[in-house]
């Protein structure tokens, strides 16, 4: 019973946030039915969310009757469910890592919104090394390519870390600038240097044997295993090692950390590099699943990591759950677009709304009279307080 109560204390606000976001989303969907000369359809949100669920899990409880209506009819097709779940897990995999890239930063009082750039650089490094080792045996090729991606991402996290440690430049602005810079640099390099002849669009060479092996279903690759192993390692690092203790202390109270003989500079650089490495791994997995790096590679997984980290309370276990939820939404969105004619972009809106309600947690707490722990990590106060700069 106490365990259940503890779970509720931790999960109440995320659950209320998700519910409210879906509610507001459904209002938006109803209004959307008016677009392009359509008629007001109050059932549309139900149909949309049902197809979302069906696309994500294979579970269906509605049978469309035509004309925008539907009848209750529960059904589950095991084969389809397996396929849908595999896709959801595959979509959740990079989100676990980008969630860690933000969440671990929170622990040190750092706000890493450079996930996008770190994903791009990591993916690009993985693609280049992957193409270079394409003919080596699979285990060697995969290790080298994934390792290169992790290193590339770590380097791209190291830059804002070092800037903050030595000049006081706040990571929020510098990581955003680095996101733009990575996009510009990589597009130029792919178009002019690494483009191969043949395909109709500019892209790098195939990664061959460095492609991540498929382990389950149609698209469940080794990437999922990598992400899960990394999540466990991150947990051990943060909660079971001296370094993790130092990171958490720096986040909670930088002056206490300095007084205790820890070096905030060293910890900031180390943590940002670590965060970059997680995002770089996410990029490597995306690219090595795809098999090459396309010049135009837009990805929302970097920013989604912020929602994942906050929804998961910056805890590795919470991050996995949050990533599964958002991954499921991403996997189910196409089926929603087909069945309910709602643009896929509604997923980004719902994701933003979840974040909005998480930020307004005090209101939720008063509104629903729930006694729950704060979602926003207290350590983040360190990031906000340090916004004005100042040397360490």
């Amino acid at each position: 019973m106490t365990l259940l109560r503890r779970f509720w204390q931790l999960a109440a606000i995320p659950i209320f946030s998700i519910a409210l976001a879906l509610l507001v989303g459904s209002v938006l969907i109803i209004l959307s039915s008016l677009a392009n000369g359509g008629q007001l359809n109050l059932l549309l949100p139900l149909i949309a969310y049902e197809s979302l669920l069906e696309g994500a899990t294979g579970l269906s409880f509605l049978d469309p009757t035509g004309g925008g209506g539907a009848a209750l009819a529960f059904s589950i097709d095991p084969e389809r469910a397996a396929r849908a779940l595999t896709s959801s897990v595959a979509a959740a995999t990079p989100l676990i890592l980008t969630g860690l890239a933000v969440g671990v930063g929170f622990k040190a009082g750092l706000f890493n919104i450079g996930g996008t750039g770190q994903v791009l650089v990591g993916g690009f490094c993985a693609a280049l090394v992957g193409a270079a080792v394409a003919d080596l045996p699979v285990p060697v090729a995969v290790t080298l390519a994934v390792g290169a991606g992790a290193l590339g991402g770590a380097f791209y996290g190291f830059i804002p870390g070092a800037l903050k440690a030595f000049t006081g430049a706040h990571e929020v602005v510098s990581t955003i600038m680095l996101n733009s810079l990575a996009a510009f640099a990589i597009v130029g390099l792919v178009n002019d240097v690494f483009k191969i002849q043949g395909p109709t669009f500019a892209r790098t060479a195939e990664v061959g044997n460095a492609a991540l092996p498929i382990l389950f279903g149609r698209n469940g690759s080794l990437g999922t295993v990598i992400a899960l192993v990394v999540v466990v390692l991150a947990y051990l690092l943060i909660y079971r090692t001296t370094l993790g203790f130092e990171i958490r202390t720096t986040g909670a109270n930088p002056s206490a950390a300095r007084y205790a003989g820890m070096s905030p500079r060293r910890l900031i650089i180390l943590t940002m590099s670590l965060c970059g490495m997680f995002a770089g791994l996410a990029g490597s997995i995306e690219i090595l699943n795809l098999g090459y790096y396309p010049a135009v590679f837009g990805t929302g997984i970097g920013f989604a990591g912020i929602t994942v980290a906050l929804l998961g309370r910056a805890h590795p276990a919470g991050i996995v759950l949050a990533a599964l939820l958002l991954g499921g939404m991403r996997a189910g969105a196409p089926s929603m677009q087909i069945n309910a004619a709602i643009p896929i972009e509604i997923i980004d809106v719902i994701q933003g709304l979840i974040l909005l309600f998480l930020a307004a947690e005090t209101v939720i707490r008063q509104l629903f009279k729930v006694r729950a722990e704060r979602v926003t990590p207290g350590e983040l106060g360190t990031a906000t307080a340090g916004y004005g700069g100042g040397k360490l």
Binding site: A35, V172, V173, L178, G188, L356, Y387, G389, K391
Partner: protein, 361 residues
């Protein structure tokens, strides 16, 4: 790498300088710089209104994007309802005017959300700003896909000053810079000066700065801290709204997803660069965006001489890198300047800290 030593570096430097002077005097490099710096300067004014009152606002990006979208959509609707030919005065149409007003309204509305989250809900300021950025990106992207606007309401025209003014010696180029632009860009210089005076020479400015430095002291003398912060954050939304209107009603005639392209964050860097003063932030905006204007100038009219040969050689061999380097310059410059300047630039002391009146919880 031997070829680097063969380059006539000093010669290049002189050629570049000559090109620069010539470009400023004879081309539209200067007005273009002011145009590109417009959203940065306006965003920075929004940031200043917030940070001077103790509120961190990293949501300027999202405010601009929302305003750009709302302004564009409303202008298109009005334009379809009552099409009119642009007047000779800045190409003004009723649609454009209503569009700008709608953009400003949208900016204030989103600012109200930020104010409510930061001040009343006492959410973390950085989280609140991030929420605004992510919701704005998602919602405008979704609505843009859903509505698929086909028309356009056109844009404001740039003013054409008489040649007699722009050909004046020494100050001609400066007048050209501030006159050969659209109405929103032209208003920036006025707004910057007005804000500078208000912030440092008015009762409101003194109170605002005090609220950002030491809210408790301001409270003790009977000024309502919460009210003043609300007011400033919401009024700051006007500037973000104007920046959004510039994007879709003055600089472009269409809306694209994520078209703010991190300008809201460059604006934040401009605030820091300008040490939290309107004129300084405006200078930062000009500095950052000069690099982009220069890139456009060089690409449209390469410098003469060996420098031009060298640059066109790179352009021929690496066209995409050549273009993207110029596109990336403002971001690179922003980061370098930020790293160099921030240690010596002190933010308002109470920035980012929620305020609770004594005796309430």
């Amino acid at each position: 790498m031997d070829f680097l030593f063969d380059l006539p570096v000093l010669g290049f430097a002189f050629q570049f300088l000559a090109y620069l002077v010539n470009a400023v005097a004879t081309t539209n490099l200067a007005p273009q710089t002011l145009q590109l710096a417009t959203p940065i300067a306006l965003g920075a004014l929004c940031g200043l209104m917030n940070e001077r009152s103790g509120i961190v606002n990293i949501g300027i990006e999202g405010m601009m994007l929302t305003s750009a979208f709302v302004g564009f959509m409303v202008a298109v609707l009005v334009h379809e309802a009552m099409p009119s030919t642009p007047s000779t005065f800045f190409g003004v149409t009723p649609a454009l005017i209503v569009g700008v007003l709608a953009a400003v309204g949208a900016g204030m509305l989103v600012s109200t959300l930020h104010a409510w989250l930061c001040i009343s809900v006492r959410a973390d300021h950085i989280i609140s700003g991030t929420v605004i950025n992510i919701v704005a990106l998602g919602l405008t992207g979704y609505l843009n896909r859903l509505i698929r606007p086909s028309g356009s309401a056109g844009t404001f025209d740039s003013f054409r000053p008489p040649d007699a003014i722009t050909d004046l010696p020494i100050i001609g180029w400066l007048l050209n810079m501030f006159l050969s632009v659209g109405p929103i860009s032209m208003s920036v210089i006025v707004l910057v000066i007005v804000m500078q005076v208000l912030l440092f020479r008015s009762r409101w400015g003194l109170r605002t700065r005090a609220v950002g430095e030491h809210p408790r002291a301001v409270d003790t003398v009977g000024i309502d801290v919460i009210r003043l912060r609300y007011k400033n954050v919401i009024l700051g939304g006007i500037f973000a709204g104007l920046a959004g209107a510039w994007l879709t009603l003055e600089f472009n005639a269409s809306f694209q997803n994520g078209m703010t392209a991190n300008r809201g964050f460059i604006a934040l860097a401009a605030v820091i660069f300008g040490r939290w003063t309107p004129i300084g932030a405006f200078g930062g905006g000009l500095l950052f965006m000069f690099s982009e204007a220069l890139g456009i100038a060089i690409r449209s009219r390469p410098p003469p001489g060996e420098l031009g040969v060298f640059l066109s050689g790179i352009q021929a061999d690496f066209p995409s890198i050549y273009n993207n380097v110029f596109g990336a310059l403002p971001y690179l410059l922003t980061m370098i300047v930020l790293a160099g300047v921030v240690g010596r630039s002190i933010a308002p002391a109470a920035v980012g800290k929620p305020y609770t009146k004594e005796g309430t919880t």
